[in-house]
């Protein structure tokens, strides 16, 4: 059989293919995005980007009702958006098997919080599997469908950044062409009204008991859970990436109970394992879910007292905590300046932010590349909570502080985020007679997650042409009368348009429209150069926060602006900053 080095996310996609899945609907979110992108390579699977995670989850449930094995993927915070259908889908169960992958981000490489999605599995009372490498990711994905159909439940597949974004070797198999199941109307099962839901809840509790038994028995036979006995001194209970770290750190100095099903947790297996070792550790990133379970079972474990609830673990953290040693390392004797992520050279968001920078505005922010504008030197953001919150939170801010505040405040939200959940906030503003000014940064793509098409850009997940949502018509339809489209590279026009809309006594939508500089079809101007005869080194051009512009010492010892020709895309935003006209085309 063929072996391949696959990302955890690619392995999940391969698992979907091999499991005979027919329908996949997702919303992009780091670190989950590449699952659905990889699915597009399999012609046997229908795939799509949904406008948000709730829609994606509901498409997957619908496909399951229709008899197909179905799937959706999202990042941890995306499952909050999809929580509503999840909790009731748990009561209903499935027809075709249904799996939802949720990718956590311990250490917050690319997220606004560090929530532990196992909490959702517990609260929704659905099984959750957690792989610890790419082979597990493929195998567990397939196992999840058997579990889903056998126990009549949606199944969560928990991933994390280090599983999703690590490559390891995977053995591939053929696709199991699972037939579309028969559809039969079953109101008692599939329509959740109080009378049906009361019965369904009782079934869910029974199912949870049955799944606990499965976790104690068959999960071991299938290799989903596994005992590895090397030592009677140290025992470790772990799942996912922490199993890999522990195995690396402790080798054969410890015995392991590797858990592949993390909800519900086994009972008897844990009690039995505890008897085999003198000291038992539970190693889990984020929340102490397994530890709490062990305490409830009366099993004595060491966990939170030596392991932090913050961030990612690795083999050194575990070696230090349990074996008490650290590896030696070397460092240089000087301060190393931080290198935070920045808006790319040629980014249209820079033009918009620079245009509005001196207007002293309250900026209600959102999730996307443009969140990077919060940092100096642009410093153009007051708040950022979650997808879509910029628009609704601006309405709240302006309601609290009155119409004068509304004339000094804006919301900034990307095109994909606006489609995700910004539109509902805008409806709230119109409906409740707000006068807020909302700016949609329309760069024709979902940017931060790595360029996914969305309902506003007229392309499907596979790049095929489709109907694009007409943003201006949509705004008009919900009752916005003032709609202005600006080019963010036209600094003066952008500034005056926003200033005018801020003064209006009704809500406005400003569309700042220019495609992402990294899109392949975007043509760039030649890079700009600094005329060192004219430049006096005043540093005004540094205020745009472009990584292509820095200050360089000249041979005569004077410091002048320098534009890196390998980075500059000739967008011209910096030209506006120079009162001496020292920045020009090469």
């Amino acid at each position: 059989m063929e072996k391949k080095l696959l990302l955890g996310n690619e392995a999940v996609a391969r698992g979907l293919y091999e499991a005979g899945v027919r329908v996949v609907s997702s919303y992009p979110g780091t670190p989950s995005t590449e699952i659905t992108e990889s699915v597009t390579k399999y012609d046997e699977i229908y795939s799509e980007w949904a406008p948000n995670e709730k829609v994606a989850f509901e498409v997957a449930i619908g496909a399951s009702f229709g008899g197909a094995r179905s799937f959706c993927a999202m990042k941890h915070v995306g499952l909050n958006v999809a929580a509503d259908p999840l909790y009731t889908a748990s009561y209903i169960g499935v027809n075709g098997g249904m799996v939802c992958a949720v990718a956590d981000d311990p250490g917050m490489h690319s997220s606004q919080n560090e929530q532990d999605s196992r909490r959702h599995a517990i609260a929704a009372k659905v099984p959750m599997l957690e792989p610890s490498d790419s082979q597990d990711a493929l195998d567990f994905t397939k196992a999840a469908y058997d579990l889903s159909e056998r126990f009549d439940t949606p199944v969560l597949l928990r991933l994390s950044t280090r599983i999703s974004h690590s490559r390891s070797l995977v053995t591939l198999s053929e696709r199991n062409n699972v037939e579309l199941k028969k559809y039969e109307r079953n109101v008692m099962k599939n329509v959740m009204m109080p009378a049906m839901a009361r019965k369904a809840h009782a079934k869910v509790e029974e199912r949870n008991e049955a799944l606990t038994l499965w976790a104690d028995t068959e999960a071991f036979e299938l290799g989903i859970n596994r005992e590895e006995i090397f030592s009677d001194e140290i025992g470790v209970i772990a799942a996912g990436s922490t199993y890999a770290y522990a195995r690396e750190a402790l080798g054969e100095k410890a015995s392991y109970l590797k858990l592949g099903i993390v909800n519900p947790l086994p009972k008897k297996a844990i009690i039995d394992f505890a008897k085999k070792v003198k000291t038992l550790y539970v190693i889990e990133e984020l929340d102490d879910v397994i530890e709490t379970h062990c305490i409830k079972l009366g099993v004595k474990v060491i966990g939170r007292e030596i392991f932090s609830p913050l961030g990612e673990y690795n083999q050194s953290i575990i070696a230090k905590a349990i074996l008490g040693f650290e590896k030696e390392c070397v460092s240089v004797d000087c301060d190393i300046p931080a290198r935070p992520p920045v808006l790319c050279p040629g980014c249209p968001h820079r033009g918009l932010y620079y245009a509005l920078k001196d207007m002293n505005l309250y900026v209600s922010g959102d999730i996307g590349c443009y969140t990077l504008g919060a940092q100096a030197p642009l410093s153009m953001m007051d708040t950022c909570v979650c997808m879509g919150a910029s628009v609704s939170a601006l309405h709240g801010y302006n309601t609290a502080r009155g119409s004068e505040a509304a004339k000094k405040s804006i919301a900034v939200i990307g095109d994909s985020t606006f489609m995700h959940s910004g539109i509902t906030g805008l409806i709230d503003i119109v409906y409740n007679k707000g006068i807020s000014t909302v700016i949609v940064l329309d760069n024709s793509i979902t940017g931060m997650t790595g360029h996914q098409n969305n309902p506003l850009n007229g392309k499907t997940i596979k790049g095929d042409p489709t109907t694009a949502v007409d943003l201006e018509a949509l705004a008009r339809a919900i009752g916005i009368n003032r709609i202005v489209v600006v080019d963010p590279f036209d600094i003066k026009a952008t500034k005056s348009a926003v200033a005018e809309e801020l003064l209006a006594e009704e809500p406005s939508l400003v569309i700042s429209r220019r495609p992402c500089a990294l899109l392949k079809n975007v043509k760039h101007e030649p890079s700009l150069v600094v005329d060192s005869d004219k430049c006096v080194g005043c540093k005004m051009c540094l205020k745009v926060g472009c990584p292509a512009i820095s200050q360089k010492k000249q041979e005569n010892g004077r410091t002048k602006a320098f534009i890196d020709p390998n980075q500059c895309l000739g967008c011209g935003v910096c030209v506006e900053t120079c009162r001496l006209d020292a920045i020009k085309k090469a």
Binding site: L5, L7, T30, P31, T33, E34, H109, S110, D133, R162, H165, S166, R167, S168, L169, S241, A244, Y245, R247, E248, A249, N314, Q315, S316, I317, E326, K327, E328, C329, V330, S331, V332, D333, C334, D335, I336, P337, A338, R339, P340, P341, V342, L343, C344, C369, L372, Q375, A376, P377, M448, G450, K539, L542, G545, P547, I549, S550, Q551, D564, N566
Partner: protein
């Protein structure tokens, strides 16, 4: 080679992911177990990025922590210094001499340390440095910096040249094969 830990560091957008993918392929073709840990998402936007490549008989953890890397391949001088603690005391730094000012330096709130690669060498660490950008341009594309650095690494680690070139041919886009082979040679023969 029993086991090897390679740290690949640079600035988001410099092409570190292709380098790690290639290293992974080279070790697999040599019959080793491999894990590669990548960075996607926010830090790809011009931030400090790190990728781990680990190979051996059996590799469990996908990450490398402080004091564990045998080799660090660095695309930018300051990043060599930032990630130095991840190197073993007898490890090797293979670094591009390029300097890319991070935003705090551009804004004048921090200083780019002078002679940063010499500072590393003064700590008794072996540093192999090269102006990989010039070599890449000489090969035909500024984008081939990663392949130049791969060439230097292959020589340092005593990897089979033919295997490396095969891996490059199998991985890079068809029309860039010639440029990338040239870039590899320039690095290898440095």
């Amino acid at each position: 080679m029993n086991s090897i830990n390679i740290l690949i560091v640079g600035v988001g957008g410099q092409g570190t992911l292709l380098a790690s993918k290639l290293m992974g392929k080279i070790f697999i073709d040599a019959g080793m177990d491999v894990k590669v840990s990548e960075v996607h998402g926010m830090s790809q936007r011009g931030g400090s990025v790190v990728t781990y490549v680990r190979a051996g008989e059996k590799v469990f953890s996908p990450v490398i922590d402080k004091g564990e890397a045998d080799v660090m391949i660095s695309f930018e001088a300051l990043e060599s210094a930032r990630w130095l603690p991840y190197l073993k005391k007898d490890g090797v730094v293979i670094s591009n001499t390029a300097q890319i000012d991070p935003m705090p330096v551009i804004m004048g709130n921090a200083t780019y340390p002078e002679q940063v690669l010499s500072m590393i060498a003064e700590k008794g660490i072996k540093v192999v440095s090269a102006d990989a950008l010039s070599l890449a341009e000489q090969a035909g594309s500024a984008k081939a910096v990663n392949i130049v650095l791969l060439g230097i690494t292959a020589r340092q680690l005593g990897l089979d040249k033919g295997t490396c070139i095969e891996a490059i041919r199998a991985t890079v886009p068809q029309k860039t094969i010639e440029t990338n082979e040239k870039a590899f040679e320039l690095g290898y023969n440095l």
